[in-house]
Point group: C2
DNA sequence: CTGACTGCAAACGTTTTGCACGGTA
DNA sequence: TACCGTGCAAAACGTTTGCAGTCAG
């Protein structure tokens, strides 16, 4: 993944801090603000939380990254990608993406709600295989 | 619905403020903190936001009420009830409950994730029939 | 060279806490 | 009566803003 190119695609200037944010999200998949801040501090000992917030907001506005709201947890952020659901381990807090076929559910939702649906957010919680050992 | 009885079931002392909170949630289905505060101010002109937060936390702890996290919106709160999904109108912000059969989806999730799932949070966004006129 | 980005400090909005008083059981 | 809940004020927390200096294009 060429982080700089991706940033340009979204009309964002390429700065080292932004590249690092995208890189961390690419490598770790899902991070909350604190986790991101901690990781960036290694590369940029004087980086400011304000910088992170400003950049997150800029990237969210352009839908380069997205917020994932998780019951009982802090929000995490991920690079935008094809629509997918999330599973969260209630014990170790690990988050995984899963692709599920939503047609069936979406049809049912449209039938029962009379809304025309354009987006869905599905988060499933439970215990992962490691934690259930 | 007997609000006082419900509170007792959850080991919560019955106070006028708590009864009012439960009543508003029962009548309106989903409210965020500000909406709840505004409504309660009518009945209790000197009620404090601190009181509302303390009570919400107590009721959430006992799972008498639940937080619903909605993409791009403030969280709303509802009385606990049988598992269900939510649809949100992106224009008028109306929220509705819908009962959908989750078996199919849940099976797919279990297959693809190796998590044992105990909870699901599904929020579908779109435009309601009134707003699409 | 110009406008945008960074980091700092201050401001802001939301939620929590401590305390004195009052109400529930 | 003993404990818990309420309301107020202050504190804590997370996020945003303004500004001066720096950097990307």
């Amino acid at each position: 993944m060429n982080y700089a190119e991706e940033l340009k695609k979204y009309n964002l200037k390429v700065t080292p801090q932004r590249v690092a944010i995208v890189q961390e999200l690419y490598l770790f998949g899902h991070l909350n603000i604190d986790q991101l801040y901690t990781k960036l501090l290694n590369q940029f000992p004087s980086i400011s939380l304000a910088t992170i917030y400003k950049n997150m907001n800029a990237m969210i506005e352009r839908i380069f990254i997205q917020e994932v709201k998780i019951p009982h947890e802090k929000s995490v952020y991920e690079l935008s990608k094809a629509s997918h659901a999330h599973v969260v381990c209630e014990k170790c807090k690990k988050i995984e993406d899963i692709m599920i076929s939503t047609q069936g559910v979406l049809e049912e939702v449209k039938e029962k709600s009379s809304f025309s649906i354009t987006n869905s957010a599905m988060v499933f919680s439970g215990i992962c295989s490691e934690c259930s050992k």
